[in-house]
């Protein structure tokens, strides 16, 4: 076992300090030490996207990063998107409205990915949506509700209402 090293980063606006081996993944740090269990591990090899978080504003796969690589970074997980306990982020609201989830396991990764995608491409075509979210896997919905939710969230975020 390698020596533990100190870790420090901002997670959803709060400073989180901890200790871990250099091989500790960012996903495990977030789940176990920052208590963000919304970060889900679906494959641990960077394909399914369930563990997607924002690192300094960029969507990253937290299973493919070591926690030490995020030292000092600003991390946003799915838990950090909603403004308060009673209100959902427009992407989260859209997933609920459009039945964009069933079992909910892939959902945190999708929600974060879609939020980042719409930030980069606020007015996507359907084809851009389908390819833009093709880096995340869902086994329940057949993507119908997810595509619809992304469309709705894009409209809401642009201020067009639903």
């Amino acid at each position: 076992m390698a020596d533990q090293v100190p870790l420090s980063m901002t997670v959803n606006g709060r400073t989180r300090r901890g200790m871990g081996e250099p091989r500790l993944t960012l996903a495990d740090f977030l789940r176990e030490q920052a208590l963000c269990t919304g970060v889900h591990l679906g494959c641990e090899h960077g394909v399914c996207g369930s563990c997607t978080v924002l690192m300094d504003g960029e969507a990253v796969r937290s299973c493919l990063l070591f926690a030490v690589q995020a030292e000092g970074a600003d991390i946003t997980t799915v838990e950090g998107l909603a403004p308060d306990d009673e209100t959902l982020h427009p992407v989260q609201e859209a997933f609920r409205d459009c039945h964009g989830l069933q079992c909910g396991f892939c959902t945190p990764g999708f929600v974060v990915s879609v939020a980042a995608f719409l930030e980069a491409n606020p007015d996507p075509s359907d084809d851009e949506i389908r390819h833009g979210i093709a880096g995340n896997l869902c086994r329940c919905t057949g993507y119908q509700g997810i595509v619809a939710a992304t469309r709705q969230a894009a409209a809401v975020l642009k201020g067009e209402g639903q």
Partner: protein, 773 residues
């Protein structure tokens, strides 16, 4: 009657899911989110060989690693179980040896032979690297087509690789074949696929010494199966196992039964008297959880000169792998029995065989016997092509029509009058614009473009009411503040039961859905759980029964307190009021408070409290039906298939929540699309699995699937709510529909595909075979 439910207010509405606020914000609680004081972590060492003798196994270095608490081998663990038998598997039926860990030899790549329990998963996996093991390789049995004849035995204890052989000859079939205008035969193959829930399997087990209680958190579809089998494994009473049910990240059949690893964790937790967690990783899930669909059916059909089906002969062979999940399965017997489907098929003879191989065990996967629809619908397209009829016309001619119902099928099935195959066939044909597409297709072919259309029509026996599957219970209690708690034996893992059960209870009892909370797992009455398209009909009917019982009492109490006639009261959205005089009313909370805290004010002789338990026994089967039609374009240069449109017309009876029904269908359809075009658990001839990551096992993404259009035909079933099951159907209809579309697109080449997957390589090979001939 005063206590009949008001007209449906919530059933039939796309009520937004009660599950969602926690799930979209990352506040679900899945098994890996459970952390207990002193919890240890398990990891399994697995065979890299398909069949081998273990000649040396030394765990001392692994045991010596700091942070390791125990290293178990088969010799350590296997004696600590009374029985590993799944509840659906008859005790007297032969099965593979009951071992949690391989002992002496390994029988497939992924076979667990050692288990490390350590302070962290990282340390447990480090320790696995220190386990010293040597194998003497043996010739594996990989090809299931020749397994029955092989002298190499997967399970020497059983004396044969043939697990089941069920021949059911029918002299009437042979007579019908004589003199038939057309006798057409083909062998249809499905390939090895797997369920791939996005959350892998997992369990946390915590033993309480002296209390003798095992507390379990599990990713399961069936909390009660976990409890019953866990009790059998540990040799303790069922009441000594407490199964907590949280959020479950999909299953599609994989989590209906306990795996050998689940059982090993239970035993280890007891031996160590420490909580133990095991979370399967994706490689383990792809290699060693369960595979499915590995089968072939040789179909011979007799057809008269006008295209009327006369009879069929079926020969089904399927691969059970080494350790089938849930015990040796015989889906082939169901596949053959169901083959006639929604048609007048005439007499049928059949044989169903199952063999063991040195591969990952077979398990239930969404529509476990859907080979019946795959073989039949692909065969019907073949018949149409052979006799020169349009496939839609051929189906129209042979489909069961309302006048044919009820219908006794020659294989023993009985179809009630509440099925609607002809209606769904016509609705789907209209939705796709059948004639227009055929015209477009003909024009495209002239331009050298290859379009195809495939359809599949099927009847699915849902909500099967026999044996352990037959019943579900609901215990419903209106609490002191008027909120409703329902305790059920279901295991919702994406099916939205927290919402749909709440909708049913809301209508039946007269409250709002958000006033109802569903509790699953510990504290619920026995039920088989969620799978087999059974929860809406069986669990839903139990929930209705419980709500109806409580409603009767609510009305009686309110009538007494309001000095009104029960017949004059109505209950809606948690308010009991006098019809026509809304000002005269009470709330559910007031009635509940009286029932518990002021019981002297209740009607003379009435028992205090506000609760009722109901158990529903389902009929043998509640049949749903659907028709899938899709269109595709095939690129003959690359072999790529692009789906253009996909329509489904289905009849699941009364829809509880249309949004949820459409979601279930879409999910199943995309699994079927993936199965035919992309997904494949490939083994090489030495039994090495080649698809061990999501880079090799290709789950469809949003970029591969078209928009899905759903139409609904609603013929209520005879069960209490008029519902029929709908969870599996999408995955039953999609494979043959997609297959038929590709075969249709390839028709100009004069080739006859008979096996999946139809990936670009397969398509190009088919085209090449045409130019060769």
């Amino acid at each position: 009657m005063s206590n009949t439910a008001a007209a449906a207010r919530y059933v039939g509405q796309s009520v937004k899911r009660l599950e969602d606020p926690r799930l979209v914000t990352g506040h679900g609680r899945y098994v890996d989110d459970i952390v207990l004081p002193g919890m240890l972590h398990a990891a399994f060492g697995r065979s890299d060989l398909a069949r081998a003798t273990i000649t040396r196994l030394d765990t001392s270095a692994a045991e010596a690693l700091e942070g390791v608490h125990a290293v178990f081998t088969g010799a350590d663990l296997n004696s600590h179980n009374d029985s590993l038998r799944a509840s659906l598997h008859p005790p007297e039926s032969p099965s593979p040896p009951a071992n949690m860990l391989a002992d002496g030899d390994v029988r497939f790549v992924g076979d667990p032979y050692v288990m490390v329990v350590a302070d962290s998963r990282y340390i447990a996996e480090d320790a696995l690297d220190l386990v010293e093991v040597e194998f003497e390789p043996l010739d594996p049995v990989v090809n299931y087509e020749t397994a029955a004849e092989s002298d190499d035995l997967v399970h020497p204890e059983l004396g044969s690789n043939l697990a089941h052989d069920l021949p059911v000859p029918n002299p009437a079939q042979q007579e019908a074949f004589e003199g038939a205008a057309h006798i057409i035969t083909e062998t249809w193959h499905q390939h090895r696929q797997t369920n791939v829930p996005m959350e892998t399997r997992g369990i946390v087990a915590s033993w309480q010494p002296h209390a003798g209680v095992m507390e379990v958190w599990a990713s399961t579809q069936s909390p009660h199966e976990m409890q019953l089998v866990g009790a059998r494994v540990l040799g303790i009473g069922e009441h000594k196992i407490v199964v907590h049910f949280g959020d479950v990240g999909g299953g599609f059949g994989q989590k209906m039964f306990l795996g050998r690893e689940d059982m090993a964790v239970l035993v280890a937790a007891k031996l160590l008297a420490s909580p133990v967690k095991w979370i399967e990783d994706r490689r383990e899930n792809l290699l060693a959880s369960n595979h499915a669909r590995i089968e072939q059916m040789t179909v011979t059909m007799a057809v008269d000169e006008n295209g009327n089906f006369l009879a069929a002969d079926l020969d089904q062979l399927e691969d059970d792998g080494a350790y089938p999940l849930g015990g040796p399965a015989t889906p082939g017997a169901m596949a053959t029995m169901l083959y006639p489907g929604p048609y007048r098929m005439g007499p049928v003879s059949w044989r169903a065989r199952t063999v063991y191989t040195n591969t990952c065990g077979r398990g239930a996967y969404r529509g476990p016997w859907q080979m019946e629809s795959v073989a039949r619908e692909q065969m019907i397209d073949r018949v149409a092509r052979e006799i020169g009829m349009d496939p839609l016309e051929l189906r129209r001619q042979n489909v069961l029509k309302p006048d044919d119902l009820p219908y006794q099928v020659s294989t023993g099935l009985f179809f009630e009058t509440t099925i609607s195959p002809e209606q769904t066939l016509e609705q789907a044909a209209e939705m796709i614009g059948y004639d227009d597409f055929r015209a477009e297709q003909a024009k495209a072919r002239e331009e050298g473009r290859y379009l195809g259309l495939g359809m599949a029509l099927y009847i699915e026996p849902t909500s099967m009411g026999m044996g352990p599957l037959g019943t579900e219970s609901a215990m419903l209690r209106v609490e002191v503040d008027g909120h409703v708690n329902v305790f059920m034996g279901t295991g919702s893992h994406g099916q939205s039961l927290e919402t749909t059960i709440a909708q049913l209870v809301a209508d039946e009892l007269g409250v709002r859905p958000q006033d109802v909370t569903l509790h699953q797992g510990h504290g619920s009455g026995y039920g088989f759980g969620t799978g087999g398209s059974r929860s809406a009909v069986i669990a839903g009917s139990a929930a209705r029964g419980a709500a109806s019982g409580v409603r009767e009492k609510v009305v009686a109490i309110a009538a007494h307190l309001m000095e009104a006639s029960a017949d004059d009261l109505e209950v809606a959205d948690g308010v009991i009021s006098v019809k026509g005089t809304p000002a005269a009313s009470m709330t559910m909370a007031q009635v509940a408070a009286t029932a518990y805290q002021n019981s002297d004010a209740l009607p003379e002789g009435m028992e205090a409290g506000l609760e009722h338990t109901a158990r529903y026994k389902a009929p043998p089967s509640t049949h749903s039906n659907a028709c899938h039609i899709c269109t595709c374009e095939l690129d003959p240069g690359t072999g790529k298939v692009t789906l253009l449109r996909y329509v489904v017309s289905e009849d699941c009876g009364v829809l509880i929540n249309p949004m949820v029904v459409d979601g279930q269908i879409a999910g199943g359809v995309v699994q079927g699309i993936g199965g035919v075009l992309y997904e494949h658990c490939v083994y090489d001839e030495s039994g090495n699995p080649l698809a061990s990551t999501f880079l090799d096992y290709l789950v469809p993404t949003a970029a591969e699937v078209p928009d899905l259009e759903c139409g609904h035909v609603v013929v209520p079933s005879d069960t209490p709510g008029g519902h029929k099951g709908t969870g599996e159907g999408g995955a039953i209809g999609a494979p043959p529909a997609v297959f038929n579309a590709v075969a249709d697109a390839l028709a100009p080449f004069g080739v006859y595909p008979n096996r999946q997957p139809l990936d670009p390589n397969a398509v190009l090979s088919l085209i090449a075979s045409a130019s060769d001939s």
